[in-house]
Symmetry: C2
Subunit: 535 residues, 2 copies
């Protein structure tokens, strides 16, 4: 210990360095979802597919996506993704696909699959660190078409566009092609196939074709020929923003005064409401330029927000999977005996961010954790219609579903019975717990709302199960009695001389009637119980 050199502060800080965000993600690519060979390949498919779906949605195009995965050598695969979307203008393609923290989605309040501007750039980083080469792009916006190679200057987080060649714009869309090392194609519940299948189920307006490494073509045709409701970009609601947010918006605002800034930047703020705010926050000069607002001003305005009566946030800005489609999806995946789907009304979290929860519960068939089906988990998670296959344990959906007292819904042990739960959370801002966007942070309001949705669906399940149980008790009682009817009838013939067939027929009628009335009574009881447990 004595000869161990210890350092003083100057020596320690001599090594002080700055790093770029691309360097950071190169070193910690597991944080982007590149952990494990199978998962890494799924992450690549996920990033490109969600980008395509978002672009098509924004351009109002029914998506047609093709993804080809080709094995090149051990742990090295080629990935090709083609869409029929709006394409990317060549002057933006570098930033869009070969840098991180750039994009169109960062400050938007709009339901989109991507929201960070990291995903596609992350793929290019991963291609670079595992093969030394970037990706190849072909795109047409209808006006301009080109091919090019994309790479990244890692130290500077700068895109490098090479070999840009203009071609004939006789198509529309984007083709991305790259080679990736340290990946593996596997047809497991965490693999590309399962990801594509679930994407198709939650996006019925999409046609997806997956060509697997063995040449097998899995085609998921579109089952709906209309675009889903287009998510609208909305303004943030006053109750959903903090002083820090307010200042942030103020600093990018083009309004001349605080008054017009508030009306222009936030939902539900009218000039009348601004007058109320001015009364409540007398120390703030509402005539100055927005960028001159101080933290104290912002705090006062946010405080005043809380004392004004607002119309709630706009809730129709989101697009859900839809009850019918969830039923079809569950039917396709699990082929259950019973299916209970609930779409709740939109809610808000953090005071003003709208979100909406949809839930489907499946019972029987291939539902349940212990079932031998391809899907071994019993919780199917989606966020903005994107399947979440990883980080199950730290997700708000998992927490909510596992926090349910399943016994109340006639499920003794959730993990051991043939029951599965599908949950989709849609929002203009999904609070993902990590950069890899595979789990929703456990915000109280979201967890609570998911629980309520599962309970709603659970009550229908409970009714079904108690019906099933009564039926089975009744059926076995009925059978037992019927077994004796014939014997009894012939005994009675001996004693009374009355014909066996007659007695038998009458007795059977009598029993059938009795059992029918039993059914009714018990159905009544069930509903009563259910009403109690709901309170």
């Amino acid at each position: 210990m004595a000869e161990e050199k210890t350092k003083n502060a100057d020596e320690i800080f001599k090594e002080f360095k700055e790093h770029s965000i691309t360097e950071f993600f190169r070193k910690n690519s597991q944080m982007l979802g590149y952990a494990g060979k199978v998962r890494s390949l799924t992450t690549i498919a996920h990033e490109y597919i969600t980008n395509s779906l978002d672009a098509c949605e924004e351009a109002g195009i029914l998506p047609d996506i093709e993804i080809r995965v080709k094995e090149i050598s051990e742990n090295r695969y080629g990935v090709y993704v083609r869409d029929n979307g709006p394409g990317i203008p060549s002057k933006h393609v570098g930033k869009a696909l070969a840098s991180v923290l750039t994009g169109t989605k960062f400050h938007r309040y709009m339901q989109q699959r991507g929201q960070q501007g990291i995903g596609a750039g992350g793929c290019t980083i991963f291609a670079l660190i595992t093969t030394g080469r970037g990706i190849r792009v072909k795109s047409s916006t209808g006006k301009e078409a080109y091919t090019c190679d994309l790479s990244i200057d890692i130290k500077g987080n700068k895109p490098l566009v090479n070999n840009l060649v203009q071609i004939k714009p006789d198509f529309r869309g984007l083709v991305v092609e790259g080679e990736f090392g340290d990946v593996k194609y596997e047809k497991s519940e965490h693999g590309v196939y399962e990801y594509v299948r679930r994407t198709a189920l939650s996006n019925p307006h999409t046609s997806i074709k997956l060509v697997e490494p063995d040449g097998n073509e899995a085609v998921f045709p579109r089952s709906v020929n209309t675009m889903p409701r287009k998510p609208r970009q909305i303004l943030p609601h006053p109750l959903g923003i903090s002083a820090s947010d307010l200042l942030d918006f103020a600093h990018i605002s083009e309004s001349r005064k605080v008054t017009s800034f508030l009306v222009d930047s936030f939902s539900r703020v009218t000039h009348d409401k601004v007058r109320e705010l001015m009364d409540l926050a007398k120390d703030v000069d509402f005539d100055k330029a927005p960028r001159q607002l101080t933290w104290e001003d912002a705090t006062r305005i946010v405080e005043a927000f809380k004392h004004v009566k607002w119309i709630g946030p706009e809730l129709d800005a989101m697009s859900t999977i839809g009850e019918k489609q969830i039923e079809i999806a569950i039917g396709n995946i699990l082929n259950p005996k019973f299916n209970s789907v609930v779409e709740r009304k939109p809610q808000v979290f953090k005071g003003g961010v709208p979100f909406v929860v949809e839930v489907g519960i499946a019972y029987g068939g291939e539902a349940g954790r212990k079932n031998g089906a391809a899907v071994s988990g019993n919780i199917l998670r989606f966020a903005n219609k994107v399947p979440l296959l990883f980080d199950t344990g730290s997700c708000a959906i998992t927490e909510a579903v596992q926090g349910i007292d399943w016994k109340r819904y006639s499920i003794a042990k959730f993990d051991e019975e043939p029951v599965s739960v599908l949950v989709n959370v849609s929002s203009v801002y999904i609070p993902y717990s990590g950069v890899g966007k595979q789990a929703i942070a456990q915000e109280d309001e979201i967890v609570e709302e998911i629980k309520l949705a599962v309970q709603d669906a659970g009550r229908k399940l409970q009714r079904f199960l108690s019906g099933e149980r009564h039926k089975s008790i009744q059926q076995s009682g009925y059978k037992t009695i019927m077994r004796y009817v014939s014997q009894l009838s012939s005994d009675l013939e001996e004693i009374t001389g009355r014909k066996k067939e007659e007695t038998e027929k009458e007795l059977k009628n009598l029993i059938d009637k009795r059992y029918k009335s039993l059914f009714k009574e018990e159905d009544g009881e069930t509903e009563q119980e259910e009403a109690q447990s709901a309170s």
Copy 2:
């Protein structure tokens, strides 16, 4: 639908913007661990305490840390952290505490608690977004002492140092003080108190005092007066690096030729080994400057690495908690009836990154998930001696422990019996799954090694439990027989005339002897069984 405006590519990309990493983390602060009020406060304590411990360790100082948490108003707290470390020179303080992705630890192969250069900057961002104010610092390196205010220019990720005042350097260390909103002090298993307590247990050379908001002083005195083995910075092992890593090191190398670059930059590479590499990678020019290496060169060299016989990575660069200290820690937290601790030999993952696993299993006392103790989880996770309190579900430790077939170790259901497992993983690079560093990514080699360690400790537990069970069976058998000895002896006296007392004494001796031999036999069987189950 018809009137919905759809956008073409030019319109979509008109809104294209770049964002700074600080902007990103401000918007997604939950990714840094700021999700939920209690957790956010713990994250703040965690970042400052780990920084202090790392600094003291590097400077060879026994850490003396004081942390004060003061309630200012609802959901708003003051946090004060003081250490006796080396201090921070004023010219570095901005970068160190008020920016992200800057630091001394990024490219090091050395076991440290911090490794990303994000933590402390994240605290300053969180202070800014919840209170509009940065933090206040007082520091002395022994040569220079000062106070200052720190803030961040979020758009540019630039630190802002204000009100810097030189003071008398009559102390050494760092004091950080700030106010934080949207936080809450709670004495739960996720709170600051529990975090500090577990830190004290895994860092016995540290003295920590926590002053809680109610004024209560929790003092955790140091229990060991010597520094733990100092982690050494090591060079990466050739088998642990990829072509991408090799190029990265080549580009920052000051060596003149590839030959000397390889010897200087990697562990176990001698000039003899370089000659072997030159034979294996004939197409590479080993005389050129390292920064002229191409991807093809790097691929060839990495391929050649695989065909040379190497001495394994340096494994003595890491510092563990230690078996004895884990026993004390478990005793303190859980007061169990039985305690089985295992420290495994260091291993490597990804071919060349060394890590070491320590495990302790506690049985009885307050161990177990269903126990009413303060610690409700039954898996206590540590990484480089830092307690991990969040993201339990997505951690390699959780996966490994839950993947154990506990029945083999006489535990019917892991979650329902009074059993807890403590695991500490130490490494020169912990592959955290998220930026918030609360879970270890599920790398196969790490999960496997944790499993082996738990199984080692589990075998001791199994032996103890089967001993316990035999004892209890034997004890009840013994008692039953003894109950009859007296009756039998007096019956025999009637029949044979032999004195009851004599017969009773002899019978008792006989039974005692028989039971002693039984103990031995069954112990023998147990070990045999155990040897089988270990194979």
